[in-house]
Amino acid sequence: MAHTERRDAPELPDFSLLKRLARDQLIFLLEQLPGKKDLFIDADLMSPLDRIANVTILKQHEVDKLYKVELKPIVSNSDQLCFLIRPRIQTVKWISDLVNSDKVAGRFRRYKIIFTPQKFYACETVLEEQGVYGDVTIDEWNFYILPLDDDILSLELPEFFRDNFLEGDQRWVTTAGSALHLLQTVYGSFSKVYGIGRCAKMVYESWRELMEEGEQRTRQPEFAKVFLIDRDVDYVTPLCSQVVYEGLVDDIFRIKCGSVEFGPDVTSSDKSIKVMLNSQDKVFNEIRNEHFSNVFGFLSQKAKNLQTAYDKRRGMDIQQMKAFVADELKGLKQEHRLLSLHIGASESMMKKKTKQDFQELLKTEHSLLEGFEIRECITYIEEHINRQVSMIESLRLLCLLSITENGLLSKDYRSLKAQYLQSYGIEHLLTFANLRQLGILEEQQAGETLTVMESRVGKLVNDKTVGKLTDAFSSLAKKSNFRALSKRLALVPKSGEEYDLRIPRDMAYIFSGAYIPLSCKLIEQVLERDGWTGLEEVTRMLNGQDFAVTGGSGSEARNRTDAQRIVLVMFLGGCTYSEISALRFLGKERGCRFIVVTTAITNSARLLEALLDNHA
């Protein structure tokens, strides 16, 4: 079942280069503050920093003590303080307070703030207003991209999602543009760019500006095509339960910066282990994209093979044994360790999922995707809420219900909201306001029968007057149009057909054959058509904002190198491991490779947690 790589799958560029660049720049910046210094690091920068540098490197550049930024008074005797932070007003205020209290105490120190990936004027204004501008030196560490794996690049900016889509703050647009620019500078230009979404367009523009400014150093591109996609084009996919191994591990254990901590229940010892999950882990690499139901079988087969390999020792003479120990044993032991880890993880996940009636939950999700037995689904969600089962899970189901149904009926909305507030706290009023603002949990407006209308409209594609009608509708409100889109793009395979999850026939396998992720389907369609031609109705339902542009001299026509079959997909607002798995599958089918650039890895819990407003 492990997919055999197509022989002609193109080689991916070496992204470790990006790590070295970031590290060298950081070292340079640290040297700007010569002498011993204490370093304060933003909590969410610690893991990314770990991936590119280590304590030894920091110590070599005279970092004395390392602290986590906690926005509390500090205890440090150092005369030089360096702050490595994200450009956040709160953190800068904290630093200003610190400097001012030192001043009051008559204490002299040097302070340096290194903003990453860039500084913001608003932060500098805080320094100015607090009267410490000039007492603090400012630098930027342009650490735009962290390679998480051979084919995953992350900006590690989870706040991109809320800032851009909920608050409407475009502060990260140029950051994303700069990230693309960096890739282009290091790895070569792209011949074609496609995209969909408001943010995607802005990022493209920002990047194009950078491109025009910089001296043109074009060369043979290492990627042929780039696809930019906004998260708000498809909220359904990240809100579904993940059932592909890597996604499931992320949903349950939370993969952080490519690494996961397995607790005692997995390691069957009394301690936790942190494990890097990437293509270097041979066992993981073979199961990461598999539907969970296949994983057990695979792992037990693997265990048998391992046993056989170990058994070879029997009947060996001394020479053979020596060779065995020298050549194979180490590898076998390594594999053994990994195997037992993933078996432990699978068991633990199985237990957790059985306990929460996962089967029933999935059934409800699939019904929602299919638009089938909605009443039963509502009852199920209601009971979920009444029993105070996980606050996030309940919210997730409510959002799925709302998006797939184009909003809830007024009476359902009110009753479900009231019950939710009773179960999880009335302060979630604020959360509901956010979700409404984002359009993922809404009340249908009175007299609104758009759902039916639009799906009917969906059938009459070629009729121009009808096309205009949809235009008028979409200007009324931002609708998800999920049902119509699903029909148009055949996202939900006909029920009743058997779906063999061991031999996936399309990307739907990542959701047990129940649903092809909209985001990935769009990518597939656009690449196939080399643009949006023929998808006009689809883009209309997605509120327009699509584009496709070709580079000036169209390097496409030149030689068909490997690079022509590498596609860079940039998710603005985060993507899930399931989507990455789907794209890997698509790549194998089409003989190309996808590289995913994302502002952060997300999943349903992270996405919704970013929208909560129930605490100070």
């Binding site: 290091v186 400014e213 009773q422």
Partner: protein, 520 residues
């Protein structure tokens, strides 16, 4: 990688506070006009002397600056061959101290080995679909750049030709070619561009409202949130709020940036005023309500919530906020008395946490646990809570069931479902499916006898059988198979039982009963 200039620049950028402070106009001058450096104070001199770099020449400041900036960018994005090597007045610094060649060198190698010389450029696309620029009717920049006017939707094919249009427009984008001596003479376009690149700029000259708005619109037109906020900070300081609010009303993008900025700065009062001025009363009410999260003391929090009751919430939300106030008020009363309560139940099951700020359902559970059976007149009684917060029967039963089952009060559990019909017969009825009841009872480790009773109440025979099998309610299983006349299953099930147990014997008896007409 050979590296020059950057070191000095970063020193410069933080020496920039020597710029005179303008009193009323915010001059967000991050990389100060270098010519002013000559006013550096004595301690600065000392600092400079200690640095190992040669003194700066200040004459051609802007050019120098842009070169510094560029070399920084060059390093950051490892552009390979830096061809403008004319900065001989700067010492060359090898950064990271690694021998020339290791990392950066290898980058250079990789980069140059795969170079080919084709020129590529991408066309511009229009990002704002129908409404290009809001507010201020026209903007010079849009004329120059040939940007589509409001309403005219630009198609992509059109956009291809736009690159050529641009070449005829006044060239404002090349940083080196401007040659202007005073940053204060720059157009909105140029100012915004300099802000984007982190170069010296000055906002002083934007004094008329029209100029200020042109500046804001230009910032919005380049999509750079950082610059939009910077301009807004300037407008905040140099315009009365009434005027600023009025102008923001027609500029959605800028408005959202401003709201977010105020949120992040914690300028609650101004934010509330803004929302009020915009007529967004519900948002205003919610924003004020949100403040309660910052109040730790429960008494003050309660009083604050009380003050929220008069805010213009939507009808539904007003009810919820009223509930919130009532809830906390009750919780404070309950907490005060339960803290020192010495009833048996509190000794047997000491409270693990305070009930303050818990959700309604948790409070109901608590009350079903510690205050079951109290009369409706007391605040802490389940019936009072149920009534006050309009809790549905289904929700009530679920919660009470959980609490009483936890205490193993099977009698209470029993009476939850008892209803008398008009003839006075007692019947079991439940608003939640009995299979769910069984689940909850099982989770609270109810004994088989209790489980069995409820399994028997499940309507659907199939569900009933499955539940019975799951929870080992032998009697129910056996009766079900008997009713199904499924002899084979009975035989199979018998093997799972202990020999000579009552259940085993019951199956034996059934199998020996000749009157049953088995289906198999």
């Amino acid at each position: 990688m050979i590296y020059h200039g950057l070191v000095k620049m970063s020193h410069l950028s933080h020496r920039s506070e020597v710029v005179e402070q303008k009193s009323d106009v915010s001059c967000v001058d991050f990389h100060c006009n270098i010519s002013k450096m000559s006013r550096a104070k004595p301690e600065d001199d000392e600092y400079w002397n200690s640095s190992k770099f040669k003194a700066f020449t200040f004459d051609d400041d802007d050019d120098e600056f842009s070169r510094l900036k560029e070399s920084k960018r060059a390093v950051n994005s490892i552009l390979v061959d830096d061809d403008d090597d004319d900065e001989d007045d700067v010492e060359r610094v090898s950064w990271s101290g690694e021998p020339v060649g290791s990392i950066s060198w290898s980058v250079k190698e990789t980069a140059s080995s795969i170079r080919s010389g084709s020129e590529q450029s991408f066309p511009k696309i229009d990002t704002t679909p129908s409404l290009t620029k809001q507010g201020s009717g026209y903007s010079l920049s849009s004329l120059f750049k040939g940007k589509s006017k409001p309403g005219a939707f630009q198609s992509f094919s059109e956009s291809f030709s736009e690159t050529s249009v641009r070449t005829y427009a006044p060239e404002l984008r090349k940083p080196k070619s401007d040659g202007k001596d005073f940053v204060s003479d720059l157009s909105p376009e140029e100012t915004v561009r300099r802000m984007q690149k982190g170069r010296a700029f000055s906002l002083e000259k934007f004094r008329s409202l029209q100029d200020k708005l042109l500046l804001l619109d230009e910032a919005v037109a380049v999509y750079d949130g950082n610059v939009i906020t910077a301009v807004l900070i300037f407008l905040k300081k140099s315009l009365s709020k009434e005027i600023l609010f009025r102008e923001l009303m027609a500029r959605d993008v800028a408005l959202r940036h401003y709201v977010h900025y105020l949120k992040e700065m914690g300028e609650q009062k101004l934010l509330v005023e803004l929302l009020k001025a915009l007529g967004r009363t519900e948002d205003m009410a919610l924003t004020q309500y949100k403040e309660h999260l910052n109040i730790k003391d429960e008494g003050r929090r309660r009083d604050f919530l009380k003050s929220c009751l008069s805010l213009p919430f939507s009808q539904d939300d007003a009810t919820h906020v009223q509930d919130h106030y009532t809830l906390l008020e009750r919780q404070i009363i309950i907490e005060a008395s339960d803290k020192k309560a010495d009833a048996d139940i509190f000794k047997k099951f000491p409270r693990k946490a305070s009930i303050l700020n818990m959700p309604i359902i948790t409070t109901l559970y608590y009350s079903c646990f510690y205050h079951y059976g109290e009369s409706e007149g007391t605040f802490s009684s389940p019936s009072n809570i149920r009534k006050t917060f309009r809790i549905s029967e289904k929700q009530y039963i679920l919660t009470a069931l959980g609490a009483r089952a936890k205490l193993k009060s099977w009698f209470d559990v029993d009476s939850l479902f008892n209803t008398k019909n008009w003839l006075g017969y007692t019947k079991k009825r439940s608003p939640i499916g009995f299979h769910r009841v069984v689940d909850i009872l099982h989770k609270n480790s109810a004994p088989v006898q209790v489980l069995q009773e409820y399994v028997n109440l499940i309507d659907d025979p199939e569900v009933k059988l499955n539940m019975a099998l799951k929870y080992k309610c032998h009697d129910v299983v056996i009766n079900s198979y008997r009713d199904l006349k499924d002899r084979q299953e009975l035989v199979v099930y018998r093997e799972k039982l202990e020999r000579d147990s009552p259940e085993y014997r019951k199956i034996q008896e059934l199998l020996n009963n000749v009157q049953i007409r088995w289906k198999n």
